[in-house]
């Protein structure tokens, strides 16, 4: 690729126009958490072996202090579990994965702890 083919990439007005156009096509993000009503995340694996079609659906229901973990969770064919919010890691154990989430997103779990303890006291 030649430099002049990307000349518009450094033009602030062109960036704003492109961002505006692209953002309008993206789905609105979830407006909040549905505490207490966790939706499962399902991972599907499909493999053909000796002419047989193997389909494995794995469903996770994970809660921490009552807060459901609702992001995308997947399992690869080698059995490694991964989670969308921590994209550079895979785990042999979903428990280890959730421990990593607690370390990586401390404020999200502080909120969950508050919510959990307030709920118990009321």
């Amino acid at each position: 690729m030649k430099r002049d083919e990307l000349a518009q990439a450094a033009d602030p007005e062109a960036i704003v126009a492109r961002v505006t156009e692209q953002a309008a096509e993206l789905p609105q993000q979830d407006q909040g958490h549905d505490h207490g009503h966790g939706s499962p995340t399902e991972s599907t694996r499909e493999v053909t072996y000796r002419g047989h079609h193997i389909l494995i659906r794995t469903t996770y229901h994970i809660e921490v202090d009552g807060m459901p973990i609702q992001g995308h969770m997947g399992v690869t064919n080698d059995g490694q579990v991964h989670y969308h919010a921590i994209p550079n890691l895979s785990f042999a154990s979903a428990v280890d994965l959730v421990k990593q989430l607690i370390d990586t997103f401390p404020e999200d779990f502080e909120a969950a702890t508050d919510h959990h303890s307030h709920g118990q006291g009321s």
């Binding site: 690729m1 450094a10 062109a14 492109r18 953002a23 958490h33 992001g71 919010a85 895979s90 989430l101």
Partner: protein
């Protein structure tokens, strides 16, 4: 004239330009707000720097194809290297614009050299010095990106992924936690092993591909030592580098610049090894084939093929990668 990308630890001009440039981009607000980007909550202006954070998060959120949950539009598949080359070129063009220097080049961090240090010495590498990237902390309190609650111009994370994998507006300091999840950085033996692989990528074109230069550089293989190379740097630095909004930490670009340098070295070492998959591959690989559009939110899209020779944009001061 093409920029020359240099080692941030040995070139003072490259280091100062980068630190100044990313701060200028962090302060620049072109108009889009969090509401424009479909981020819930009150509308807050988003800086040019943070538009790159948003782009990265959206790419990671775009599965290719949507029916599976492994490959996305920028990771876990063949497009990992060309997509990030494209992203770095675009950031470099922004740095050149705000610095008014058409030859300003992104610096790289030769983390494999730091990976040769003892475990205890790695957090004390000069890259984490006060006059370079600063050290770790939650928030970090040293260096050019240190957080100061009383100084609104200090480096602040304004959009970040939450535990549910959604991008949210925030206003806090940058976080790092060296060596918390893995003890060591990748070392030169790891880089040498990746360079020995002659196939760019292979079926199933995912985190399970083996042997695959792309998959090994990205860090999913060898499985017994994963996370490797790119992934291991993210994980070793920790904090904000762990999430899909990892470009919040300017170390992100230093890591990927070194990844890109390793790819250029590999291209020179394996001149007869093509980018794969080619355009005859299954529709299931849309987004990863050589002439497919790369997901681009800031400018018109390009393709992996158009990213194979970046020489019109930049070169590296050295391709001695281990």
């Amino acid at each position: 004239m093409a920029a020359i990308r240099r080692n941030i630890l040995t070139d003072e001009t490259a280091r100062k330009n980068y630190l100044q440039g990313v701060k200028l981009l962090k302060q620049e607000q072109l108009g889009p707000t969090t509401t424009d980007l479909s981020i819930p909550g009150p509308a807050v202006q988003v800086s040019t720097y943070d538009l790159f954070v948003w782009w990265h998060h959206v790419a990671m959120d775009t599965f290719t194809p949507p029916a599976q949950g492994d490959r996305n539009a920028a990771h876990r598949g063949p497009v990992f290297l060309p997509w990030h080359r494209f992203k770095l070129i675009l950031l470099e063009l922004q740095l050149q614009r705000v610095l008014n220097d058409p030859e300003a080049g992104l610096p790289y961090w030769d983390w494999a050299a730091d990976g040769q240090l003892s475990v205890g010495d790695q957090p004390d590498s000069p890259i984490w010095a006060e006059d370079c990237m600063g050290a770790d902390g939650s928030p970090i309190t040293t260096g050019p990106f240190a957080f100061d609650t009383n100084d609104p111009s200090s480096w602040r994370v304004r959009v970040a992924a939450n535990v549910q994998g959604q991008l949210r507006a925030t206003n806090r300091g940058l976080r790092r936690a060296f060596g918390q999840s893995v003890d060591t950085l990748p070392d030169q033996n790891d880089v040498a092993a990746a360079l020995d692989l002659s196939d760019y990528d292979t079926s199933p074109w995912s985190t399970e591909s083996e042997p695959s230069f792309r998959n090994q550089v990205e860090g999913w293989r060898p499985l017994q030592s994963a996370p490797g190379l790119h992934n291991r740097v993210h994980v070793w630095v920790g904090g904000d580098m762990l999430s899909s909004s990892s470009p919040n930490d300017p170390v992100f670009y230093l890591n990927h610049c070194n990844e890109d340098r390793i790819w250029v070295a590999w291209q020179q070492q394996h001149p007869d090894s093509p980018y794969l998959p080619d355009q005859t591959a299954s529709e299931e690989l849309r987004g990863h084939r050589i002439d497919d559009d790369l997901l681009s939110l800031l400018t018109n899209p390009t393709t992996p093929r158009q990213m194979l020779n970046p020489g019109d944009f930049y070169t590296y001061d050295t391709l001695q990668v281990f």
